[in-house]
């Protein structure tokens, strides 16, 4: 599933990141890489998604997130 489909307060593991060169470089440099665990803190329409990963709160534009595929962690 896409990161933007993860419900608030759920955790997910990033399985794949795809997009153009610029996007891949930007998304990795802020700390999101395959295998990385993220927690979706806020997921409202018309606002960037808020995820928490590597001790950091990160705001991501919804369109940009389409290239981030995740597997939800059930626990």
């Amino acid at each position: 599933m896409s990161l933007s489909e993860v419900k608030e307060n759920k955790e997910a593991l990033i399985s794949e990141i795809s997009g153009d060169t610029r996007f891949m470089s930007r998304i990795t440099s802020i700390g999101l890489t395959p295998g990385c665990r993220v927690r979706v803190v806020k997921n409202d329409k018309n606002r960037p998604i808020l995820v928490y990963s590597r001790d950091t709160m990160i705001a991501l534009n919804r369109n940009e997130c389409r290239g981030i595929t995740v597997e939800e962690v059930t626990a």
Binding site: I17, T21, R22, F23, M24, S25, R26, I27, T28, S29, I30, G31, T33, P34, G35, C36, R39, V41, K42, D44, K45, N46, R47, P48, L50, Y52, S53, R54, D55, T56, M57, I58, A59, L60, N61, R62, N63, E64
Partner: protein, 671 residues
């Protein structure tokens, strides 16, 4: 004093780089642009141990890729050898993520050291970091640091000296080992000798090839044979790009930190303030309220300097009469009073505002509130090609355009900053809002409400069109992307450093805008000056070109008042009233600017001389004209570009006349 080394500060946004730079250099800093680039260049200096060190605050970015001019400038500056040592900052409270910059730097052949900034915050969070263990693995000096703690700086200076004397370079073997897990890495690496591009190791270049870094690829194409380059290109196409190399970098960081960092896991949640800012319903209102409160708060530190401005204006009349009675030639008296004293009154009022706005909005930036503003308005402002932060200068401009221009300083991308200022000019300022309802109610009675509504709609359309016209050049298409940004934890401000920074900027503003304001006020005064008291170049010109200006709905009296409104909108109505009651333009102008014009019988005077369509034309021309001389000076100060300032001025003059034309002719259809 002997010359010491040049230090470059490198770090991700929110790593505390600016605070370090401000504390180190204090008032000894200079902000300009990189030659030929739309990127801001911050330099400064400090002395330590009898040596004068230079500091370059490199633009903040998350990595050293070729995503933006900022990043390319940063890495070229370092690799070209302009810096003797690079100080890399990481945030101790988010060490793993913020060490990415270090991992991206590894392989550049310039000595460096690592500051683990915000050590105090990490400690409060229960994180224990063993800097010595990291130092041993890295091979460069590593020091825990807190940019907001004065005592930390001793260790900063000592570490700096140590990095210089030992010529410290990062050990890259382990990192190279990680990269070897990428199948194509070794092949590419073998094809690129060290220093194929000066200052970079073959590992660094090979990694950038895999990341498909355009700038590196173009340079390699030039310096390697076509045969070699084609082999590299073929290998690159098979690799999985920045995602693979990013993974390697983080694995290396994990190994680096393994055993060196202990943390107590705490569940994450939004703070109460963040729950308000991120609220779907109330977030925008909360941001607007924050900015408006900030605007009001910025008047408090501004008041003393504004008082000085008022005091200077108060001595204008006594000084002028004293000079006259001492037998001074009239021309000289007028230059002293109407140009010099008047200008300095403007300048000090402006400085007060710049001081207040820079302090309050600098504080909001440092504390972390500005990042929330960015988040909340990202979608809205993104449509104009701007960052969410741009909403702040727009709101401030309803009060005063120069405050908006000064506030645009928190926008870290130069092009977006210039575009923000250009759009902020379209927002009618406080002085315009004082004039619009007054004139509208004289002419249109209750219809004034409709006029105000149309002005607001015109403002929005104006901003949209201006964003389209200037946006293409200022914010390149590839720079328009959605937000990928850290929302930093709230920080305690460092008051001393903030004050020194604000004082430094105010002083620099003073030096630069004094020239601009004296020049522009002087030119306007000369154009309106008439020795006999009845002429003046502007007056004569206004009368001669009246057939043309009437086309825009402006008889010469209104046209001259429109010209005066470019100096200061406060004076526009005073000039009209003086001209229709038969006063000379020179006197009317100087009186109106000093706020002393007689407007008591304004409404009968206006109704007798001006038609409704003309009044409407004037309201639009005045409102959307250049805001004032001081806003012009502030724009020049913030953009560092005479070219862009001039472009914006010409554009606004043209658009305000077009709007006047439209208003006049629509008015003619109605009345």
């Amino acid at each position: 004093m002997s010359t010491g080394a040049t230090i470059a500060l490198l770090g991700q946004p929110n790593s505390g780089k600016s605070t370090l730079f401000n504390v180190l250099t204090g008032m000894r800093q200079h902000v300009g642009n990189w030659p030929g680039k739309t990127v801001e260049k911050k330099e400064g200096s400090f002395s330590y141990g009898g040596k004068e060190y230079k500091v370059a605050d490199l633009p903040g970015s998350y990595s050293l890729s070729a995503n933006s001019d900022e990043e390319v400038i940063t890495r070229d500056f370092i690799a070209s050898g302009k810096a003797d040592v690079v100080c890399i900052l990481a945030d101790s409270s988010q060490l793993q993520r913020s060490l990415f910059m270090l991992a991206d730097y590894a392989g550049i052949n310039v000595p460096c050291f690592l500051l683990l900034n915000m050590a105090d915050v990490a400690e409060d969070q229960g994180k224990k970091i063993d800097a010595k263990a990291i130092e041993e693995k890295l091979g460069i000096p590593v020091v825990p640091f807190s940019a907001t703690d004065v005592k930390s700086y001793d260790s900063f200076y000592r570490t700096l000296e140590r990095a210089l004397s030992t010529n410290a370079k990062i050990k890259i073997d382990d990192l190279a080992g990680q990269y070897e897990s990428i199948k194509e890495y070794q092949d590419i690496c073998d094809l690129i000798p060290d220093n194929t591009i000066e200052g970079y190791s073959s590992m660094w270049l090979a990694v950038k090839v895999i990341e498909n870094d355009e700038v590196v690829m173009a340079k390699l194409k030039n310096s390697l044979g076509a045969d070699t380059f084609n082999k590299i290109e073929a290998a690159r196409k098979n690799s999985s790009g920045a995602v693979a190399t990013g993974g390697c970098k983080f694995k290396w960081i994990d190994e680096l930190l393994g055993g060196a960092v202990r943390t107590d896991e705490k569940p994450v949640s939004l703070s109460r303030l963040d729950r308000i800012y991120t609220n779907r319903t109330w977030g925008k209102a909360a941001v607007i309220l924050t900015v408006l409160l900030g605007l009001i708060a910025s008047f408090i530190p501004a008041l003393p300097l504004m008082g000085v401005g008022e005091a200077i204006l108060a001595i204008k009349a006594p000084v002028m009469s004293a000079l006259s009675s001492a037998g001074c030639p009239e021309f000289l008296v007028l230059v002293v009073g109407d140009v010099i004293i008047q200008s300095f009154s403007y300048i000090f009022k402006m400085l007060g505002f710049v001081f207040g706005v820079t302090l309050v909005f600098g504080l909001l930036e440092e504390v972390g509130v500005m990042a929330r503003i960015s988040y909340v308005f990202d979608n809205t402002m993104g449509k104009l090609g701007l960052q969410g932060k741009s909403v702040m200068p727009f709101l401030v401009s309803f009060g005063c355009t120069m405050g908006g221009a000064a506030g645009a300083r928190v926008i870290d991308n130069w092009g977006q900053k210039v575009l923000t200022i250009a759009l902020a000019w379209a927002v009618p300022c406080g002085a315009a809002w004082a004039t619009i309802p007054m004139l509208s109610s004289i002419f249109f009675g209750p219809g004034a409400v409709a006029v105000i509504a149309v002005i607001l709609l015109t403002m929005l359309a104006h901003m949209w069109v201006t964003a389209k016209i200037f946006g293409g050049k200022l914010v390149k298409k590839e720079d328009r992307f959605g937000m990928i940004m850290e929302l930093p934890p709230y920080h305690k401000p460092k008051w001393g450093a903030l004050f020194r920074y604000v004082l430094g900027r105010t002083k620099e503003t003073f030096v630069r805008v004094t020239k601009v304001i004296l020049l522009v006020c002087g030119i306007f005064w000369l154009l309106s000056y008439s020795p006999s008291g009845s002429g003046g170049i502007l007056y004569r010109l206004g009368v001669i070109i009246e057939p043309v200006t009437k086309f825009f709905g402006l008889p010469w009296q209104l046209f001259l008042s429109y010209i005066a409104s470019a100096v200061g909108k406060e004076g526009a109505v005073g000039v009209i009233s003086a001209l229709y009651s038969g006063g000379s333009y020179g006197t009317a102008f100087s009186q109106a600017m000093a706020g002393g014009a007689d407007t008591s019988n304004l409404s009968s005077l206006l109704l007798a001389n001006v038609t409704k369509p003309e009044a409407l034309a004037f309201i639009f021309a005045m409102t959307f004209n250049m805001p004032c001389v001081v806003a012009l000076a502030a724009t020049f100060q913030e953009t560092h570009s005479a070219k862009w300032t001039a472009r914006i001025v010409l554009y606004y003059t043209a658009v305000s006349l077009i709007l006047a034309f439209l208003a006049y002719h629509i008015g003619l259809l109605i009345w």
